[in-house]
Every structure is written in C-alpha cells, then in structure tokens.
C-alpha cells in the first residue's frame, strides 16, 4: 500500500491536466501520477517531466530505455523495472542487450558500441559519486554525442534516480506503464 492515497478523481485543474497528459501519453494514468495527485503543483510538473523523458528525443527512446534500466539497477530501485524492460524490447532492443545491462556484461558485450558503453559508465559513476566523473570519460562522451544529447542523457539518468527514490519512498508500484502501443 502506498504511503499516500492514489487519487482516482481529480478535483483540481492542475491534476486534471496532469491526468489528461498521462492518459494521452501512457494510455492510462500510472499509479505514480495518482500518488502525486494530492499535490497539484508537484503532480503537474513531475508528470510533464516524465512524459518529456519517455519519448523519442535527441537520443532514441530505445536506447533511453536501456539507460533507465541501468540507472534503476545502479541505485537498487526497481520501480517500474519490468515495465521498462518490456518497453525496451518493444522499442527494438534484443533480449541480449537488455540482459547484458543487468550485470557488468555490457562492459565487454558485442551488443553495445563504444558510444553506448560510455553512457553506461556515466550512469555507474553518477550513481556512486557524480563529483568524480573523470575528464577522460567526458572526452569519450563528447566524441560520440553532441551537447544537446549529453544534456538529455544526464537529465535522463538523474531524473530516473529521482523517480526511483520518490516512488520507492512513497511505496508506489507501476508494473505496467504504457497501455498503448509505443511503436507503430
């Protein structure tokens, strides 16, 4: 049971707007959005930020899902983990790619290229100590990704650290995130 009630019927315009956005994007209103529903300002802004993250962006959504999976594992959070595994597969990732980020196999896996590996290194380091990301790793990241993509990746990693922490703290689970097809 969640720490806070899961709002079923919004009685506030901000929450109605957030639920509508969630319904359109996810095909339903996820429990995390319902849990935030007691606080209209937080519900509206966090929902908009999550929706912005979970779509095609400067970085492909398929790869972003792998980054999310690695991030959740790196902080020992399993909020929505199964849902993100399913999404990762629906967005074109092979079971091998999904499996190899569950442990350290990604470091030598033939299923990833150097650009992707550098991002997983960034995930690992941010989770442990964001102050200690080596200049050498940034050199490699800048070689493969442009500035906008690097902002998106850093924001994605740290957003899902936030989402994992908030959802686990509030005791919210979302075994299914999307109830609509994400790929035509």
């Amino acid at each position: 049971m969640a720490v806070v009630k899961l709002v079923q019927k919004p009685d506030n315009d901000d929450v109605r707007e957030a639920f509508k956005l969630a319904e359109t994007h996810f095909g339903h209103v996820p429990n995390l959005v319902r849990a935030l529903g007691s606080n209209p300002a937080m519900c509206r802004t966090i929902t908009a930020f999550i929706v912005q993250s979970l779509r095609e962006g400067r970085v492909s959504w398929g790869f972003k899902e792998l980054v999310i999976l690695k991030t959740l594992r790196a902080i020992s959070s399993f909020y929505g983990y199964g849902a993100h595994e399913a999404l990762a597969q629906e967005l074109g990732n092979s079971p091998e790619r999904i499996g190899d980020i569950a442990n350290s196999l990604w470091e030598n896996s033939p299923h990833f290229n150097e650009a992707e590996r550098a991002v997983f290194e960034l995930v690992k380091q941010i989770a442990i100590d964001a102050n200690a990301v080596p200049d050498e790793l940034w050199d490699r990241l800048r070689k493969h990704w442009d500035h906008g993509q690097l902002v998106e990746l850093d924001a994605l990693i740290t957003t899902f650290i936030m989402i994992g922490r908030v959802a686990d703290t509030l005791g919210v689970t979302d075994p299914v995130l999307f109830k609509r097809k994400v790929k035509n």
Binding site: N39, F49, Q52, R142, G148, V151, T158
Partner: protein
C-alpha cells in the same frame, strides 16, 4: 584563480534559442541572475523547460513552507556532497530565516539533539536522510512521526523536494558546473563542520576556497 570550465560550454543569453531565453528570463526574475546550471541546459531547451518548472514550484511557498523545504534541500545536497547546491542554499536558507547555527546542525545526526530543531523538523530530516541512502530502509517509526504532522499533499511535496535535489545536484556535479563568481569568498558552513566524504568533492571544495582567497587579494 579561475574556475575550471564545465564539461559542456555554457549557453549565454545572446546565444540562446527563444525557449531558452524565456527560461532564462523566468530564472532571472526568480533568482536575480541566470545561474550556470541553467546555462548548461540551454543545449536542450525542451528538457530544460520541463526540468526547471519543478524547481520553480519547489522554491516557493507551497503546501509546505519554503523555510522547511530549505532544511531538506540542505540535508539532501550535503548528503550528496554537492558543493554547488549547498553553497547556494546556505545563502537562500539564511535569507529565509534558517540561522547558520541551525544549518550546521543538519550534518550527520546532530539535528536530533539540537535545540534548533523541533520534533516535527526532526521527523522530516530523518525521512530525508533515509530517502537519500535507501528508501527501503525508512523505519516505520519515521513514517508514524511524519504522518502525525503532515498530510498526503505535504508528504508528496517533501518527497519530491528531496528527490528533485538529489536529481539536480547529481546533474550539475556530473557536468562539473562551477559556482558563480558571486559566491566567491563564501565559506560553506556545512562542509566546514563535516568535510565531504567524496575525495573528488573535497578537491572541488579546496579549489573553491582557493578561488575565494585569490579573489580577495
């Protein structure tokens, strides 16, 4: 001594696209300046817009008063060894009435026996301390105390405040975003009381203090 540049160039207002300019204007209205961490997000304005909207809501009176949220922001960012956030929020918190003595008692478990903290504040600082490390280990007793003082909407705001500051501190630290010159000479009091655990953060602190000394001369 000049600051080491961030890992990505800062997007100055005259280089910014229309949406970024709007975000900078909002930031300047709220904070009297465009902070470096805003400028680094100018490379991806569509992400910056959604991200900063969360912080515009947190850094204001809400269902929880801003003063209380500053206690959590300082605790969360100190736990994460974020020099950038701690330094800025020591200044903000003091403007809102959180005395330097009270700020310093946020380190470790000092707040629990501090005359500056009441039971209500201790309950949420306890929650914050656990949330930063491992939410699964939040003791039931902490929840009992928190729920005796705060309703659901307020608990959401407390949790989001902590989560958002874990997010933004890691976001900026990973990119090596440096403190603005206006903070030069500030002596971070929480880190003076308890140095950063991270060797890299200790190095950043030493460098920042040297910058302050150099600027003073």
């Amino acid at each position: 001594m000049s600051a080491k540049p961030a890992q990505l160039p800062l997007v100055e207002p005259d280089q910014a696209d229309a949406l970024t300019k709007q975000i900078y204007e909002n930031a300047e209205k709220r904070f009297q300046m465009v902070l470096n961490i805003f400028k680094v997000t100018g490379h991806a304005s569509e992400i910056a817009e959604k991200m900063w909207n969360i912080f515009f809501e947190i850094l204001a009176e809400g269902q929880v008063d801003w003063y209380t949220k500053e206690l959590l922001i300082l605790k969360a960012t100190k736990t994460g060894d974020c020099l950038y956030c701690v330094t800025q929020h020591e200044v903000v918190a003091e403007r809102l009435g959180v005395t330097p003595e009270k700020q310093k008692d946020l380190v470790g478990q000092v707040y629990k026996d501090s005359p500056h903290f009441n039971d209500k504040e201790c309950a949420i600082v306890d929650l914050c301390a656990h949330m930063c490390v491992d939410p699964e280990q939040i003791p039931a007793d902490v929840w009992t105390r928190v729920k005796s003082y705060y309703d659901d909407g307020q608990i959401v705001e407390l949790a989001v405040t902590v989560g958002a500051y874990i997010q933004v501190s890691k976001f900026g630290d990973a990119l090596g975003v440096q403190l603005e010159d206006v903070f030069s000479g500030h002596q971070p009091r929480l880190f003076a009381k308890e140095p950063p655990k991270s060797a890299a953060a200790r190095h950043h602190l030493e460098h920042f203090l040297e910058r302050g000394k150099a600027a003073a001369h």
